[in-house]
Symmetry: C2
Amino acid sequence: MARPTPLSGFPEWLPDGRIVEQHVLDVLRRTFELHGFAGIETRAVEPLEQLLRKGETSKEVYVLRRLQEDPDAPPERGGQLGLHFDLTVPFARYVLENAGHLAFPFRRYQIQKVWRGERPQDGRFREFVQADIDVVGAGSLPYHVEVEIPLVIAAVFRELQAIGLPPVRILVNNRKVAEGFYRGLGLEDVEGVLRSIDKLDKIGPAKVAALLVAETGASDEQAAACLELASISGADESVIDRVRDLAAARGAAHELLDEGLVELGALVRAAAERAPGVVVADLKIARGLDYYTGSVYETILVGHEQLGSICSGGRYDTLASDGANTYPGVGLSVGVSRLVSRLLSGGLVRATRSVPSAVLVAVTNEDQRHRSDAIADTLRARGIPVEVAPAAAKFGKQIRHADRRGIPFVWFPGEIDHDGVAGADQVKDIRSGEQVEVDAQVWAPAEDDLWPRAVAATP
Amino acid sequence: MARPTPLSGFPEWLPDGRIVEQHVLDVLRRTFELHGFAGIETRAVEPLEQLLRKGETSKEVYVLRRLQEDPDAPPERGGQLGLHFDLTVPFARYVLENAGHLAFPFRRYQIQKVWRGERPQDGRFREFVQADIDVVGAGSLPYHVEVEIPLVIAAVFRELQAIGLPPVRILVNNRKVAEGFYRGLGLEDVEGVLRSIDKLDKIGPAKVAALLVAETGASDEQAAACLELASISGADESVIDRVRDLAAARGAAHELLDEGLVELGALVRAAAERAPGVVVADLKIARGLDYYTGSVYETILVGHEQLGSICSGGRYDTLASDGANTYPGVGLSVGVSRLVSRLLSGGLVRATRSVPSAVLVAVTNEDQRHRSDAIADTLRARGIPVEVAPAAAKFGKQIRHADRRGIPFVWFPGEIDHDGVAGADQVKDIRSGEQVEVDAQVWAPAEDDLWPRAVAATP
């Protein structure tokens, strides 16, 4: 076959890019587990009717059929299947299916690929990895979970800054604040107002004001008040006072507003203490059409704002319901592929080498390959990643083989003298050229050389 | 919605089952990396024409379409897409697509889900995880790779026996031995003979003999000789002598036979030294319709033979070809889901707990939650997985919360006296009931309690 070309929207990485992605995935997993989140995976497919429950996402779904399926046969149990487009719908189904076996509140993380049949564009893929955390309660879920979730994500990003991730801002808002403020102003079409405010970054305040008047029946004053609220942001509790002052000035009193401000204040206060400078209350965050009922979150990469939110979520009062029980949830979803794609394409992060091996064991001649294999096994048993040279070529060629892959050390089995006695092994650091006598039972590379690492790329 | 039911053929695990699966995946990854295999992932989809190149697998493919796709629109670039049914086809495509960026011989591992629209049955799934290793050369690939690959897999299974995996037998054969023997006998329809021999376990020797006579034109004597060859197996080099003796007795001399026996002998010799008792030469292993040209491998779980092969592969002289270059490969593929499913359903392995947390930090009252959060952050910074109690309930209830999840330790923040001075924290091992004063900067659980582990289940 001819050389194939990539499929647009289906990203793949070369081995060194995969090392960067794997590092990000490892940081996500470890941070989530340190915070007590249990890992699960769900199947890639869900019944189509389940995927379409929300309605608006129908255009994005990939539907499956078996190639040899008889079109006249009755549909299989479960009906038509589609690939999941997020991890929230499958998780809600998993919770209902397994509720009897789970202990609530249930803390889970889930790192998997999702698929959307969208037109591919920069930062938007048809296949991509998401990493989700959610806490779901049975019947009720206390507010402090809404404080905890963004702080777990802040801990992830703190770890990733060590490899060159730019600073992030986790922008938080609370639906109760917005809804209470609008209702206090006398605006009842809360969803309409949120939908208009959500367009602020795209179309600007003048057009949003016009939309508010035209579509939600707001007066010019009410529209102006909504825009004033949306303009408030800040990383400390003074932001709460500014909202209170605005509400007082505009006469927008509502119980829900007070409740929301207490919650948002608690979040900002805890964040200022536990992740200073990362979490910013931003009253314009609306998260459009999603069914959030409390906190909402978006995350921007500073200097890469046009990439869009790399981590979004919020609180649902009804993540799932089976009639008898309702399961409220709070969650956040990291767009791993979007993030990794930017780290790689922006030249922000690189891998220290493209293979796991810290050592290439040279082969003196093919008859002696078993000696090199034995050395490799000894090093591996001590946790050192090793490969053996593919051919007993001249040592210069074997060293070039290591060099091309970024393998830092080449190991030479001791020469065998005329009496059949083996001399000491030697290892060469091919970066410095230094070569020393070594014992495979004792020698180890420096910790930084042991495994390939993702590191900040020097520009 | 009503409580959903599982979809047959799409396995999912509860959190404790996922801990067992994750342990298996971690062992695979670590062992592969210790042997210098670089991890890659490929997209889940391939153009349908690419998936159907082998022909025989067409009935298994899931084809995708976008729900809102215009049936009259011209097909997208890349044509119709299907989900990959193995990791070999995508890897061959990846090698061709990226050949200019890869260093050969290229050693890669790949652990991903694959999909097959088969009728689900015990041990056969529609969605399952495979873990593949391959070494691929540009133009040529030396035989010693065929020795190395099954020994890497043997190392994986050795690690997994620590958590209760039954012993495995990696059965090896060499196509050259079979082909040389058949040709030496005067049988030219080598594929026909292999196809018949492959049915030995299913239909027995008498019916295979009849098939050989009816379909490959073998005489009764030739058929008997093929069956005699297929009956030979053994874990040391004597097996090679037995084949040589049989060939001499039957007058089956052929250059390919000699070449194959030298290779198979080298594999058995190396395996006896490096993984004693695991690798068995079994001359009936044919691997049916796959296009192997040298070593072939199958793996059985001793005592669970009816599960079928849990790890199969071999050497392809043409893993991929773009006309100008040919890429030979040797690989093995572990059926992870089949293995994990058996470990769990057979009650062979269990997780020590269902959540990552080693410690539950109790909350004295909601006003003091920030103190519990601070303790949790201190422990996490020291690498200890921790969660904070969801509610400031009575301590008995908080202890039960930990107990239900298998969390071994509950941490109590020191009481605050009338002067506002905090006493020492205490930690309780809820298994023994022992409670001691501790400092979050110093205390650590025993290593076995730090993370949940997969362990052999006591029957």
